[in-house]
């Protein structure tokens, strides 16, 4: 094995990683907004809203992300909607992530003990106050760790964007492979980089989970 290419090409990895992280952050951000909206729709009393949310979630979870990226990138173009590569890339990942975030958020809200809500109502707190003061703070606590894991998933999914020409970590790795005629070694490096990012976030989630638990019974 030969890793001498690194001395020439290391900047490719750094630049690629920057793009990957930026795309992941924006995709998760929009994914969360979309996911919260979908979760609220799914929990709504209106059957139409529930139907839309359920269909959306099922469709996204039932189709490959690669297909979804192509649909956003080429499909919208054929309808005359022209998005820049970066917008299309982030939109595709956010559309995908939104479905998964929706399920995380829904589960987090449903996990709030019914008794907590009944107690709030019995004290004469309104629906809005109950939601704001009791349900949301407790749901956020349930949701936060799972959301960080979703960030890891999205980070890995950004590698798919290389196929629509986003210069992310994976794209730059392919560039290195082409330039150096090394098929294998650049992949090892990129795998280590992806793994390191995931590992750091996982560790962070661990700390966060312990903190959240501690705040339930601080002594």
């Amino acid at each position: 094995m030969n890793f001498e290419f690194l001395s020439t090409y290391w900047m490719y990895y750094v630049e690629g990683l920057k793009i990957t992280v930026i795309y992941a952050i924006f995709s998760v951000l929009f994914g969360i907004i979309l996911g919260v909206a979908l979760a609220l729709m799914k929990l709504s009393k209106l059957r139409v809203l529930r139907g839309i949310a359920v269909s959306y979630i099922n469709f996204i979870r039932g189709t490959p992300i690669l297909v979804q990226i192509y649909i956003v990138y080429f499909g919208l173009y054929s309808f005359g909607i022209s998005l820049s590569d970066s917008t299309a890339g982030i939109a595709a990942l956010a559309i995908n992530s939104g479905a998964y975030v929706a399920e995380i958020v829904r589960a987090g809200i449903e996990a709030v003990d019914r008794g907590q809500i009944e107690a709030a109502h019995s004290l004469g707190l309104s629906y809005i106050h109950t939601t704001r003061l009791i349900v949301i703070p407790q749901a956020v606590k349930n949701i936060l760790p799972a959301l960080c894991n979703e960030f890891i998933v999205v980070t890995k999914n950004t590698s798919m964007l290389s196929i629509i020409g986003i210069h992310d970590l994976m794209y730059n790795t392919d560039t290195i492979r082409g330039n150096t005629f090394l098929a294998f070694e650049p992949l090892i490096i990129v795998a280590v980089i992806y793994f390191t990012v995931s590992y750091i976030v996982t560790k962070f989630v661990g700390i966060l989970e312990r903190r959240l638990k501690a705040s339930d019974n601080r002594s």
Binding site: E118, A119, S122, L123, G124, L125, L133, Q138, D216
Partner: protein, 241 residues
């Protein structure tokens, strides 16, 4: 009459839980509801503050019909404190915050005033040193005493108790019953669903025996426990006493 219930019906799907409850409760009365599990005691209690919506019948609280369209449910509930079997203290708030959240947000009591009142009530249930603790740090008995104090912080006219000692370890039942006894002596109207026959006998002004969604028999504790008239009451009491 502070509570007047007429012909109350409630079903869950096909299961008929309440089959026509009629009862009137006077101001300051302590009414204890007993009966086998599944008899509809808890559902009856939960209908009184509309945690369950009745299918049919009417409930008047202090003269106003609470099931009427456009009735302000939150306002009505503010007059009725409820204590649950599972305590249901808000896990994301410390004890003081638990006590103040409803007075401050629902009743718009100034924060300092609500906190002062909360501390007085915590003192009354012997837990003022726990004001800054979180619910998970308290024992079951302590949680239930806080839950009672929290309900009292809204200065309700009526207190509803839904099996308040059933989830407690035996050694903690006494401390909760002691608080309830003191409360009963203070003259507040109480409706208590319980399996504590000793409490019913000692503190109750009236005992209702429920079975299959109906009130089968009601009387003073002395009469109901000493001289039950109905066969089903006799059967039930022979099992629990």
């Amino acid at each position: 009459m502070i509570i007047e219930v007429k012909n109350l019906h409630k079903s869950f799907g096909k299961l008929k839980v309440l089959n026509g409850i009629d009862v009137s409760i006077e101001k300051g009365e302590v009414v204890v509801v007993i009966g086998p599990s599944g008899s509809g005691k808890s559902t009856f209690l939960r209908c009184l503050n509309l945690l369950e919506t009745p299918d049919d019948g009417s409930i008047l609280i202090e003269g106003s019909e609470i099931t009427a369209k456009g009735a302000n449910i939150s306002k009505i509930r503010q007059k009725m404190g409820m204590v649950f079997q599972q305590f249901n203290l808000f896990t994301n708030m410390n004890i003081l915050k638990n006590m103040c959240v409803a007075p401050v947000y629902a009743k718009k009591v100034p924060k300092e005033q609500a906190e002062k009142r909360a501390m007085e009530l915590l003192d009354r249930v012997g837990l003022s040193e726990k004001a800054q603790s979180y619910p998970d740090q308290l024992s079951g008995g302590q949680k239930q005493r806080v839950a009672i104090a929290r309900a009292l912080a809204m200065e309700p006219d009526i207190m509803l108790f839904d099996e308040p000692t059933s989830a407690l370890d035996p050694e903690m039942v006494g401390e909760v019953l002691a608080v309830m006894k003191e409360l009963a002596a203070s003259g507040i109207t109480m409706v208590v669903v319980t399996h504590e026959m000793g409490f019913a006998r000692e503190v109750g002004d009236r005992v209702l025996f429920m079975d299959e969604g109906r009130i089968i028999e009601e009387n003073t504790p002395q009469e109901l426990f000493g001289n039950p008239q109905n066969q089903r009451t006799q059967d039930f009491l022979s099992k629990v006493l």
